[in-house]
Amino acid sequence: MFDRRGQIRIIESFLAIAVVFSAVLVSVTFPSAPDLSKQKSLASIATQALIKLDTNGTLGSLILKQLWTDIKTALEVLLPVGVSFNLTIYDGTGHVVNSEVIQNSNLLGQEAVSVQYVCSTRSQTIHFFVVRLQMAWMG
């Protein structure tokens, strides 16, 4: 009689342990809300870089002269180390203007942010461009 009761208690204990551990496992694997602070910081860096690159109309002038390598180098200087970027320039009708890819490494598979910036030339005929900068932290 006592032996059977004892066996049931042991089984009950094991069941309780199993319940507690499964609850713990569920709580650990439960997805938490994503932390967007890194993305926000990256978006701020991207906007800043484009604003500074466009001081005195420099960016519009570089686009008009089609100096894609210079734009890439300027971004490499302005952006912190460890950031991948890809820049695409569109004209007023939405067509891609840059004939060469302006990027330092591939963004594929990385969590990227995208920032858009409108700039213009300061020539007699004013041209508007929409610049889209996509960035991600490497690795």
């Binding site: 204990s13 309780a16 507690v20 910081s41 701020s44 500074k52 001081t55 210079d70 734009i71």
Partner: protein, 344 residues
């Protein structure tokens, strides 16, 4: 059963605590980012606290007054962050002016890229000694193509040389100094990125010409700039100042003394529109020893605030990088934010 229940409670508490702590600090990153932007986008109070040497700001902001450009910083507010300047503010005053009691911060301002200068060779050729310097321009190791303007200063002698770095970021500059001169010479190198004239950097190299190795900068004078005035505090009564000059990428001028007493000389600095840092060079003698000392204006690179690299592992530090303009030249501003440091 009791042991089981207790261990379940303890285990659950241990597991949940970090998540609860995480929730409590969830908005820290946003708050610190807002504070970093606030620091660089507002002027502080009073608006012109940078120029007023006796004023400690009641609220902290580094932006230039009446600017239309975001992230344009005031040359004097930045200079007062450098503890080598006699008008500098210490960290505790800055922390009080920021007014956020539960946060500590570090501000670092530096050029967008670095210049390294190395003396490769020197030899006597006729009536002059010829020095060959290797100059490299790099951004975090990445070579950068730049235009260079180099000055050599020794007493009244000034030699200007223009050159440019190759795509690998390196060039060699050769400079001759007459053998009739002797003393501490200073090589100043201004570099301007070929892709953008606002991206500038500065390198300095002191060397002895027909004399022994130079003493460190600041041995004879303490040079401080504020509100376009150079204050030169002379450290010895026997010092005789011969000349003060200002150098930028495109210009150099001699400065006229504004006021002078036994221990201090003040000079007016011209407001130049060149997108370049300025370097003020003071030459003179102390007995038989000649000196060439200098101070950049704005006085960067600089770093102020607690050293977060010594923070406890796992503590939260938020780092925000900005590109800011000071006198039309671009600089990198790195702000680091964390919980209240013991060093405050």
């Amino acid at each position: 059963m009791i042991i089981l229940a207790l261990s379940a409670i303890v285990g659950t508490t241990k597991l949940i605590t970090p998540y609860l702590t995480d929730l409590a600090h969830r908005d820290d990153a946003d708050r610190f980012q807002y504070l970093a932007s606030h620091l660089l986008l507002t002027t502080g109070t009073p608006k012109n606290w940078g120029q007023l040497e006796s004023i400690v700001p009641s609220s902290l902001g580094l932006a230039k007054c009446d600017t239309v450009q975001p992230y344009e910083l005031d040359i004097d507010k930045v200079t007062r962050l450098n503890n080598e300047n006699i008008y500098s503010l210490d960290y505790s005053k800055l922390w009080q002016a920021l007014g956020v009691k539960d946060a500590s911060f570090q501000i670092e301002i530096k050029p967008l890229f670095q210049l390294s200068i190395e003396l490769v060779s020197d030899s006597t050729q006729g009536s002059q000694r010829v020095y060959e310097f290797k100059i490299a321009a790099r951004k975090s190791g990445m070579p950068l193509s730049t235009n260079l303007n180099s000055y050599v200063i020794l007493k009244d002698f000034v030699n200007e040389t223009t050159s440019s770095t190759s795509p690998d970021g390196v060039t060699t500059v050769t400079i001759g100094i007459p053998n009739s001169l002797h003393g501490t010479a200073l090589l100043l190198v201004f570099a301007q990125a070929t892709v953008n004239s606002q991206m500038v950097s500065l390198g300095m190299y002191s060397f002895g010409h027909n004399s022994q190795s130079p003493l460190p900068n600041g041995t004879f004078t303490r040079l401080s700039t504020l509100d376009y005035v150079l204050n030169a505090s002379l450290k010895y009564a026997t010092i005789e100042v011969s000349k003060a000059q200002v150098f930028t990428f495109s210009y150099n001028f001699s400065l006229n003394a504004k006021t002078q007493d036994d221990q201090t000389v003040e000079y007016d600095i011209p407001r130049l529109l060149d997108a370049s840092p300025m370097v003020i060079v003071l030459t003179g003698v102390n007995g038989s020893t000649s000196f060439t000392e200098f101070v950049p204006y704005p006085q960067v690179p600089l770093q102020i605030g607690p050293d977060f690299s010594e923070s406890i592992a796992g503590s939260r530090i938020a780092v925000y990088r900005y590109t800011a303009t000071i006198n039309s030249a671009l600089y990198e501003v790195v702000t680091k934010w964390g919980g209240l440091s013991d060093s405050v």
